[in-house]
Symmetry: D2
Subunit: 281 residues, 4 copies
Amino acid sequence: MLKGLTRAGIGAVGSIEDFVRAAAAHEFEAITAGGKELEDWITEKGADSVNAFLSEQGISIASIGLSVQWRTTEEEFTAGLARVAKDAEAAAAVGCTTCTTYVLPSTDDKAAHFMAIATRRLRICAQILAPYGIRFGLEFVGPHHLRTRWANPFVWGLQETIDWIDAIDERNVGLLFDSYHWYTNELGIDDILRLDPSQIVLVHINDAPDVPVSEAIDNERLYPGEGVIDLAGFLRALKQIGYKGTVAQEILVPKPSEESSETLLLRSQEGFRKVYSAAGL
Amino acid sequence: MLKGLTRAGIGAVGSIEDFVRAAAAHEFEAITAGGKELEDWITEKGADSVNAFLSEQGISIASIGLSVQWRTTEEEFTAGLARVAKDAEAAAAVGCTTCTTYVLPSTDDKAAHFMAIATRRLRICAQILAPYGIRFGLEFVGPHHLRTRWANPFVWGLQETIDWIDAIDERNVGLLFDSYHWYTNELGIDDILRLDPSQIVLVHINDAPDVPVSEAIDNERLYPGEGVIDLAGFLRALKQIGYKGTVAQEILVPKPSEESSETLLLRSQEGFRKVYSAAGL
Amino acid sequence: MLKGLTRAGIGAVGSIEDFVRAAAAHEFEAITAGGKELEDWITEKGADSVNAFLSEQGISIASIGLSVQWRTTEEEFTAGLARVAKDAEAAAAVGCTTCTTYVLPSTDDKAAHFMAIATRRLRICAQILAPYGIRFGLEFVGPHHLRTRWANPFVWGLQETIDWIDAIDERNVGLLFDSYHWYTNELGIDDILRLDPSQIVLVHINDAPDVPVSEAIDNERLYPGEGVIDLAGFLRALKQIGYKGTVAQEILVPKPSEESSETLLLRSQEGFRKVYSAAGL
Amino acid sequence: MLKGLTRAGIGAVGSIEDFVRAAAAHEFEAITAGGKELEDWITEKGADSVNAFLSEQGISIASIGLSVQWRTTEEEFTAGLARVAKDAEAAAAVGCTTCTTYVLPSTDDKAAHFMAIATRRLRICAQILAPYGIRFGLEFVGPHHLRTRWANPFVWGLQETIDWIDAIDERNVGLLFDSYHWYTNELGIDDILRLDPSQIVLVHINDAPDVPVSEAIDNERLYPGEGVIDLAGFLRALKQIGYKGTVAQEILVPKPSEESSETLLLRSQEGFRKVYSAAGL
């Protein structure tokens, strides 16, 4: 399981090349990136040079984010689809095989109708990604406060999301499995052990403050090992089922940290050391 | 557009052979039936004999109802699937190319989750029907009282149902289009004219009492021509877009009529004459 | 059924605007175009202006050609997919709802393996086109000489192509139905009457010289009404089943005609008049 | 990886209960069965009793064979589909999650057309199996003599079969991976290591006589460890990628062995001991 970083939680780390270097310098093996960012990088440096650099740094591109807006109008959705194809093309050129999006647990739209529309839209995204060898991960979002943030409940649970993936019914769709949402859904080790590794596209690792589960706020996350989530058990269970992909931290906070990027990277490095070690990895 | 009958609204008409004879004797050209009923009939008489009888009477089997329970547990659902295959096999043996189900406009389940589950289940039904050359029609149900009958709103509109059919994404799925639900959704002629005939699998024709639209009760239907729905416009629009299938009445009422089957058949015959004639058909 | 033109058979007609004007001036109602050509036009003039011009000229864009290479390597295929999305976006912006490709009747690849690969690739194309509201038409190619042009027979018949469309299994895939291939497959009126109009995405109309059917060469086509194909019967049957799309000529010849574009346009106009009139249209 | 038996290679072992007992008595952990056979057994004894017996014997039902004829006419195919649903229902009732079929490497049909038809038919089978939680495995068949046994080459290789599975495009379809076909395709360890375990539905293990690969006959198989195939490498590679399913022998021979069932079972037991041990399992 590769130690990975997103840009959330490490301050203003600079260009993607700087990000890669910073990740490599702190024992990370993978980062996430934007599809357009990758395309621009490849355009500037050439794919061969980018791949040589990544290889030299020992960093892989774990995932890109889905760039198209699938939650609003049909016009916005279709207007962003050609971009998804370009993102996928860039990702494939640097060996990235994963794209992800998150699912808000409530909606102002009529829930059943929005589910029908979103099922079609996410299927289309999966279909556009597939020929590039890219899998598509859906992240269920557990924090309780978001379940009532908009008028109607949507989906936030693991089983609901698996059922939705079955409804989408494309072979390259799976889960983005985040420890924060595993925790806020009050799921256990057994829930992980019931999964097949082929169902998991990417893993996020984050920790939660010592407040009642129902009061854990989505953007008040802690670095791995600094909070109350059983991350050792989480990682051990993922290892046990055979998950071999990236485990990336994504520390969402209410406002940018005032600490330096270097300090935050060291804190991330230390967090991973701690939880990987506790998990016996 | 073939004049058709369901068993709803014509009293206790007897065996399926009696039903066929009664339909033929009152200027109807098609009836709906049960898949098991067809299988039993074929088992008893042989498919050739059944087809000869239907041909002699000038009656076609317009549709069968979906027999599997897709609204409750997974166990109930899978337990009924082999029966769907047998129903389809029997239907195909007598030239029937349509199967339908209705969609209740509210649900006690969480709406988004139920939509995801139902999308998968109805897709499976469509997939089982397809190799037998059978199309699958979903009937949206418009009456207002049913929209709040259960805890959470589901879908009841035309566009919602089309969006759902897109989410199901099988080539043999379309609409069961009922004038009562067209009316209670306050749709107009233009809404029909925007459809392609290939989207419509079956048409139901029923009339509504002279009460405010929002107070029209699902099982207080009138015979065609006896109520306030613009059935002439409805039929004309269907004809105009090129619909060539069956138009079947389905008179749902609170309790069985006390009139004789013969009286009700004559009333149905008269109703069809009236509205077809008003539509210039 | 709209009278349509491709650029094949009308000489060097100029820019797409010139092509539109020329088509309009000769009683045509639709043309086919390239996706990139449409994109460039929209980029230059704006979609509103392009649509106003088309509307003013009474010309619709009937179809674009599939730009991606799906017959060779996986690399070439994926390299062209983002372009398909851009083509589709441009097409949709000018109201074009159709994209087409042709199928060569023999191949140097192992036939079964190529069929498996091509099934996946054409499905991907259909999936990319679908969210833009664009249907995808496959043109079977009948001339006998092409059936043995490469090492292994592939598909050239109507039923084979329908079976392939069933294998692709996307809701927006249908036939590009060309009179030349209907003729060289020795199909009849009945074969058309068995089709549902929803199966036909686009129609090509061309005539054949008075040689034995097995000797009709793919690029030795005649203008409608100048040859031996029963085009009146062809059009009548299409009308009878309810086809309402475009009927476009595509006169493939061994080398560019020496006649002026104006002469060829008049010849096309006259050809359409003749066969539409013979068909009672 | 569970040690498994099919009935091929163990003589007339008797009823399914006898088969289970015999397998258990010789260190096997799984057997394959017929869907109808399972249904009859369940009908006679009840699912609870059958499951208790299997559990007591330590035997699982690894797989059923696909019972429908998908290689001939559409009539034969559709006539067998309801049976597939019943087979799947019976299989699911005893915890069996796999169904398999084999692919002959040549055909008297036109190869491309048959591929299109077979793609649709096998997809339908996969769709019928899916709601019962059953995966569907396709077995590519390598022996050279079968590649020219019928008029036209079809598919026999690993990559071809993976490409076909992509064309079928259902989430529950994968490979039945047989060491005999791995060997006769002259594949290596690396070809196994490139697979994801989720691509493999079932494994067959058989050995080949010491003749040139191109002369290995499909039904002249040897027991594991008695021939020249590197079965230790085969098993080690499967273990390495994380395959956890059943490895079943299927000794096809020209005519029934004259040895007793007990002798053949002991030979099978010894063969598995030998190759599992050589693989370090």
